[in-house]
Symmetry: C2
């Protein structure tokens, strides 16, 4: 497994890199970013995985996420994958839809044609990319955590619930918590996984909890001025499921905030401190 360096920029005492590699899972080149803070030679650092939302690439959070100051202070590596395969031969032209296809992989392994060949984002972000990153960066694989935004919040919550021994902490900004019950999710899970809803539940945080998945606790922030709140995000469904299952949930309603990186960047430091406390416990 080789990676190609796209760019390296010193920032906040560390190095912000952007890298590219030929993915076995997606059969495309995939781009991702990794921030490595200053550290002593030979030490390995905890790693935080950040999954992005609809329409995003690695670049949105890398440019606008304001995570580097906190990662530098806390000694955290921060990895941001892309949200889907991309390329001329990849189906799902984003000109047709912003919420399905390119830029909208939903962190599932598609079973439906013509998507099954390339859209393997679950295996990509939970298997292929972790191996690549662990092999190329000073990562302590025993100390990993995950967070995400919107569609990426959905990805982070489902990854934590399915791989609770891997991720010591999990949090989300404005996540889609119950994709089986909201328009974005119904379209995406139906399109990638087909009409049999039994195949959807392992990609639905609320359904996973209802089926018995457990986790040590989540931090979730959402803005009450988020235009997707009541139709697509529905944080109350996560609240109810966590209460029923006795999963500790710190759910914060942030007054006046919307769905943008202006919201995410405001609370990024809080989230990274939450992660660091659990990664270093």
């Amino acid at each position: 497994m080789t990676i190609q360096t796209v760019s390296l920029n010193r920032s906040h005492g560390g190095v912000q890199g952007v890298y590219k590699h030929a993915s076995r899972e997606t059969k495309t080149d995939m781009t991702f970013s990794v921030y490595v803070p200053a550290h002593k030679d030979g030490t390995k650092l905890p790693v935080v995985w950040y999954l992005s939302g609809l329409t995003c690439t690695h670049a949105n959070v890398t440019e606008k996420g304001e995570y580097r100051a906190a990662c530098a202070e806390l000694g955290l590596i921060f990895v941001a994958p892309d949200t889907s395969p991309r390329g001329e031969n990849v189906p799902g032209d984003p000109a047709n839809a912003y919420d399905f296809g390119i830029g909208a992989g939903f962190y599932v392994d598609a079973t439906q044609e013509p998507f099954a060949h390339n859209y393997r984002m679950w295996s990509y972000v939970t298997e292929e990319l972790p191996k690549l990153v662990t092999g190329h960066f000073p990562v302590d694989a025993a100390r990993q955590s995950i967070l995400g935004h919107s569609m990426g919040g959905h990805g982070a919550l489902t990854a934590a619930l399915r791989l609770p021994d891997r991720f010591r902490a999990a949090s989300a900004f404005a996540p889609i918590v119950a994709p089986s019950h909201v328009p974005w999710g119904i379209k995406a899970l139906g399109g990638y996984l087909g009409d049999n809803k039994r195949t959807w539940c392992r990609h639905d945080a609320v359904a996973l909890i209802e089926c018995g998945a457990r986790y040590s606790g989540f931090l979730v922030d959402y803005g009450d001025a988020d235009s997707f709140l009541t139709e697509q995000l529905r944080p109350e469904l996560l609240k109810n499921a966590c209460e029923q299952a006795n999963i500790p949930l710190t759910l914060r309603r942030q007054g006046g905030y919307d769905h943008s990186y202006y919201f995410i960047s405001t609370f990024m430091g809080d989230h990274l401190r939450w992660h660091a406390a659990r990664l270093k416990a």
Copy 2:
């Protein structure tokens, strides 16, 4: 004078706005951003002006500058103008040059045709926009400071030297300090002001100091991996001029940093604390 709101986003407890207005100086619509931190009703806050570099609009620093956390903490309003007039009827197509014309106003009032009609960025950023901002935002006009990057560092240094009573603090990231002596500056000042170099010196920080302008002190950061350092920026010329003139200069060489916002965002907090100390003194 009226302004039109392009967008408002809550961020770091305050409001990041983007606004548009019909400029009397440039005879075009001009877009700018203003961040107003949380504050008590009726109070007026110090204002920091940020002038951007070549090719930038207000958006670059607004998205990538990481200034809001520090402005929220310190109680500073942060204003980011555009770098030139823009529009179909404005000469200086950026497809022809990134360093002259649209995106490259160099903070001068052009005297040469066809630029003199629109390219009045000196009057725009030092007269028209300050009046507009003071009229629409809770600004304490007695407490202003200025900073900038590259071409905008040039703008900030020359504005401070020419208007020392207005700006209580001034700093720069990787500024062009002596445009009369470097390719970017020779091209721009010649193109906007003509061949008579006597008209250039009030737009050249080093020349202004050599001609007797004085200031209370500057903070300047540059990266030693900045690819423009030795040909275009030449911080040693500012160092020499300040030493001769007994102007206090805190000039910091930052190891491994380049010319990008990854560099700027790293030291933005330092600069804003430097400004706040002087704005609140």
